[in-house]
């Protein structure tokens, strides 16, 4: 093998190695950041007004998109589900189909994805811009811990908002399914609700859905605050960090959803 070819191969290997090490380094830094954040969230919980404001920005302002999307997802589920169920003469099970798919999967996952793009990107951009305009350094100069004062309230605001948003999404979706299934198509209302209640278990389905949304809330907000805090303090760096937040947290939600579903539902059904 000629000498330039060896050199090219070597440089490629080195690039691969440094990519892997930097990814692992970032993961370690992010974990240490989360630990520090949780340990120093005393201020955010004592001065709860700070967290309240962040719940307003992350939760209340996401309400419209979550409610409207939930309604439409439920309506589409009802329309599509009816087409298939009707073929087997099981159109009364429409309520079961809509409720189970929303409560188990679509509620937490779609609400999480919307939350990542609506609130997660805003959190990253805000913290990143604070860093770029040296507000974070200024706080450190004044002996104010920026993680306790800026990052922790945003983290807790997101973690509190996300399960509530997912529940609203699922509730709105079931209502949308009811509108289409019962009011428009004419499935019997009694069968719609009673079959749904017989099939949806509070512990197995609804609690597991809530646990999923809590996990997604922690994951998305953690990624968002970390990307913002770790952003390169330039206009370009902030824009890249915002993009990374949306991409990474969407992938994290889908991967975590697979793991959680495998743990929760296959184990339960095999018993």
């Amino acid at each position: 093998m000629s000498l330039p070819a060896v050199a090219a191969l070597r440089s490629r290997l080195e690039a691969l190695g440094s990519t892997v090490t930097s990814a692992i380094w970032r993961l370690g830094f992010a974990s240490r950041f989360l630990g520090y954040l949780v340990l120093h969230s005393g201020t955010a919980l004592r001065r709860f007004q700070l967290t309240m404001t962040e719940i307003y920005f992350a939760g209340v302002l996401s309400l419209i998109i979550i409610l409207v999307s939930g309604l439409f997802v439920g309506m589409v589920l009802a329309l599509q589900g009816y087409q298939t169920l009707q073929r087997y003469g099981a159109s009364e099970s429409l309520g079961v189909l809509v409720a189970l798919s929303l409560v188990r999967e679509l509620g937490p996952v779609v609400a999480g994805l919307l939350f990542a793009s609506r609130a997660g990107s805003a959190i990253t951009a805000e913290i990143g811009l604070m860093k770029a305009t040296e507000q974070i350094s200024a706080m450190e100069m004044m002996a104010v811990d920026p993680i306790a004062r800026v990052v922790a309230p945003r983290f807790w605001g997101g973690v509190i908002s996300m399960p509530l948003l997912a529940a609203l999404f699922s509730g709105m979706g079931v209502f949308g399914g009811y509108l289409i299934g019962v009011q428009l198509i004419g499935v019997d209302a009694g069968a719609f609700w009673s079959q749904m209640q017989a099939a949806v278990d509070v512990r197995e389905d609804i609690m597991n859905g809530v646990i999923k949304s809590v996990v997604f809330g922690i994951a998305v907000t953690w990624i968002a605050v970390f990307e913002g805090y770790d952003a390169v303090p330039t206009a370009e760096g902030v824009s890249r960090a915002t993009t990374r937040t949306v991409v990474t947290s969407s992938l994290a939600i889908l991967a975590l959803d697979f793991i959680l579903t495998a743990l929760m539902f296959t184990g339960g059904n095999a018993r």
Partner: protein, 165 residues
């Protein structure tokens, strides 16, 4: 945005979220049908439980009177032991029959109770002596085919006799 407005909106948001959770638990789920009523447990041995699952309903005359709380395998008799939790409001005679039935053609399986005539009622921890296992479709079909084959063996003999006449 002043502080009072933020608080108001956050309050509305949290309240709406909790209402949604409550709606899911009560209207979509079956929390309302969770009874805190007194229950008692009885056991029954089945040779085959088919597709019976934990939390399957126990019905008598079509009314849900309890739920299956546990299913185990008995190593000595090679039977399935089904633990049934019945509501204390419903009392059954000691010679009640338990059957594993299917709701509809392909529906879920449940335990059906048929009351007997004994004067003594079931107590907690009692075992139902009379049980009927689940119908396994494969056994039914193989029995049917076996009967058909047996009929087919007899059938050719009859015309064979006729030419001899």
């Amino acid at each position: 945005m002043n502080r009072a407005t933020v608080d108001l909106w956050v309050g509305i948001f949290v309240a709406a979220g909790l209402v949604a959770l409550l709606f899911l638990a009560l209207k979509v789920g079956n929390l309302a049908s969770f009874s805190t009523a007194q229950t008692y447990q009885v056991f029954a041995k089945f040779a085959n439980i088919g597709g019976l699952k934990i939390r399957a309903p126990i019905k008598s005359a079509g009314v849900v009177v309890g739920r299956v709380s546990d299913i185990r395998f008995d190593n000595e008799s090679y039977d399935a032991i089904v633990t049934m939790t019945l509501e204390s409001a419903y009392q059954f005679p000691r010679d009640t029959t338990a059957k594993i039935l299917t709701s509809g053609l392909l529906g879920e399986q449940y335990v059906g109770l048929e009351a007997g005539g004994d004067g003594v009622m079931l107590k907690s921890g009692d075992r139902l002596r009379l049980t009927q296992s689940a119908v396994v479709l494969e056994n039914l079909i193989s029995q049917f085919l076996f009967n058909k084959a047996a009929e087919g063996k007899d059938a050719p003999k009859e015309p064979a006799k006729e030419p001899a006449k």
